[in-house]
Assembly symmetry: C2
Homo-oligomer: 154 residues x 2
């Protein structure tokens, strides 16, 4: 077997041969599961790769946001591009290039881009993992009642 | 639990609170296993993180190089900084920022920095994995006999 190079094109900010897909295959219909303006590139897409992880690149357009969700698997991201914001539990965290953030298990979280430039990050994840789920009533109410987080709970 | 932010310091090109360690704890004594001028930062160092992968950042100083080795687990890297070179099997591949490279299972490989600036890359890897091993006699002889790869086999 030979090495597989994914050549990066700085002008497009994409890897040659890697197609950008939608963030999710369905619009989220459950409360908080809506999202806007996100693309997803899977860098380790070849299922023949005998590794337990996948590496994805997500990019949020200006005004883009992800689902407000939680899951058992841990999230870890490394910013590659732009400035973004993460709602994680009761925290709101600003992110700049190469900042890394770990989201604990079952913690409500949402990524947002409130800047005028694209915001993109790498996200390695276990290949076998649980599906994201909406946050529950108690979590929703607490985040809505918190002046720091309320505006990101919709 | 609260989110863990690893804030990046662009001046030092390091994450606050993450200590750079040596590439390996021992100098390589077996043929080809020598290395020079490499540091390693483990971004997912907390063993409490219930994920099957680790994410490391390796950085090679100018003139730095890694062991010439192989292992069953697949390597995948994403360049963050500088220009480097990878020997992978019979290929020599130049790498620039955000290029991504997959090294197949049991394929001899070595990373090199022949530039005047640091060369750094992210490398996610399965937490449970086999140890690197020296390449065998046949692989050594073939790489030495190949004019493309010979200079990197030492």
């Amino acid at each position: 077997m030979s090495a597989q190079l994914l050549e990066f094109d700085p002008r497009r900010f994409r890897w040659l041969g890697i197609e950008a897909r939608q963030y999710k295959s369905h619009p989220g219909e459950a409360r908080g599961m809506g999202w806007r303006g996100i693309s997803r590139c899977v860098l380790t897409g070849d299922e023949a790769v005998p590794a337990g992880y996948e590496l994805r690149y997500f990019e949020l357009e200006p005004a883009g946001y992800s689902s407000l969700e939680k899951h058992r698997h841990v999230h870890f991201v490394v910013v590659l591009r732009g400035h973004g914001r993460a709602l994680v539990g009761a925290q709101v965290i600003d992110l700049r290039p190469f900042d890394a953030l770990q989201v604990p298990t079952l913690t409500p979280h949402r990524w947002l881009n409130e800047s005028r430039e694209p915001f993109g990050f790498l996200c390695p994840v276990d290949r076998e993992r649980d599906r994201p789920q909406p946050i529950d009533d108690g979590e929703w109410d607490a985040l809505r009642a918190n002046s720091v987080t309320a505006r990101y709970v919709f």
